[in-house]
Symmetry: none
Subunit: 193 residues, 2 copies
DNA sequence: ACTGATATTAGTACCAAGTGCTAATAACAA
DNA sequence: TTGTTATTAGCACTTGGTACTAATATCAGT
């Protein structure tokens, strides 16, 4: 073999392309001091697509992900049981688009969104807003996990129009998230229609 | 003029390309029932680059702005300034889809998502997770509002791998959201490469 | 040193999706 | 009718490739 082994060159080639997909065969040839043809043979053996295809891949991934950034739905997660002003339960299936690509762990704001949605839903009022919340992400959640979140109304202060809700999310019975939410509501106890 | 006015065609052309940069001149020519040359003249007048350049632009946006701990497409809101392990700033434009239909007030979890994304991004580490947070929604935010969120790293505990980040969101200079986030990071101070 | 296998290089034709340029029409308006 | 704007056509050229063939190198084993 020449400069170094073919194997070694191909290893480095994969790496180089991985961290800069925008590099052309010509640039690679110069960098590794071999002919353009060799680079092409290498790419074939490693089944690395050509520059334009690589770029297109990167571009379309951005596009897909853009849509998935944060759901627009009324409620995050599906409410499966509710007793207004008392308790509520929702399910949220964590998918690939909810996790960090790098480590596969769900982004906190999706768990928060489910909890927050449920806290709003459990309040029997036209207008319910989250005023304050204290939350803890107890354990990482991953793609494929089914998160079950339970909301329990634990207190109500008529004067300030406040309602306290306790949220607990579990995956397979294990607690992954807990939070206490202070909710604001427009109407007091007697005012509901 | 022919089918419709040139102006109208160009308006639609811009739009079409904007929401699908992957379309070729030939496809556009068919769609608008004009020749490929006309499409090219239109692109020139509108200074819209060719397909391959457009794709490259989309792709490089993801790449250029890559923040170490978080790819840009995973962030809610646009990061406009960042100084790793120190401070960061992001903008989030509240649209109709982010608010409650009933009262036009933004759902809390969107504000939380922006803050949480920024807290993760400001940490100079491969893995950053939110462990705990204490937040307050100070004032309602509405569609059309531009929320500017500032993250400031206020403390770091090497032993527990924890970093405390203070978040403040404002609309027109008025504070609408504040929060304190406890973040977990994998690497300690000396361990970064 | 000779042979075979593997690796590398060279060269050609071809492709997609363009740019740049010139020139011919077509359509419309005064 | 003339001038202006719009549209179409055609050709050479560009990038960054693919597909394929063929010639060399390089090395390992006998």
């Amino acid at each position: 073999m020449l400069r170094r082994t073919k194997k070694e060159r191909q290893r480095q080639l994969s790496e180089t392309i991985a961290d800069n997909p925008f590099v052309t065969d010509e640039q690679l040839a110069t960098q590794f001091q071999v002919s353009v043809q060799t680079i092409r043979l290498d790419r074939m053996e490693l089944s690395i697509p050509e520059l334009r295809e690589r770029i297109k891949d990167v571009a379309s991934k951005t596009y897909e992900n853009e849509v998935k950034s944060l759901p627009i739905d009324e409620v995050i997660g599906e409410i499966i049981d509710i007793e207004l002003d008392n308790r509520a339960l929702s399910i949220f299936d964590v998918k690939e688009e909810h996790v960090f690509q790098r480590n596969g762990i769900a982004r906190g704001h999706h768990l928060f969104a489910q909890a927050n949605s449920l806290a709003v839903a459990v309040i029997d009022d036209e207008l319910a807003l989250t005023v304050h919340s204290n939350i803890t992400f107890v354990k990482p959640v991953r793609a494929g996990d089914r998160v079950i979140t339970k909301a329990i109304v634990i207190g109500r202060d008529e004067k300030n129009h406040r309602t306290k809700v306790e949220l607990t999310s579990t995956v397979n019975g294990e607690t992954v998230f807990v939070g206490e939410f202070d909710m604001y509501r427009t109407k007091g106890k007697g005012e509901q229609q």
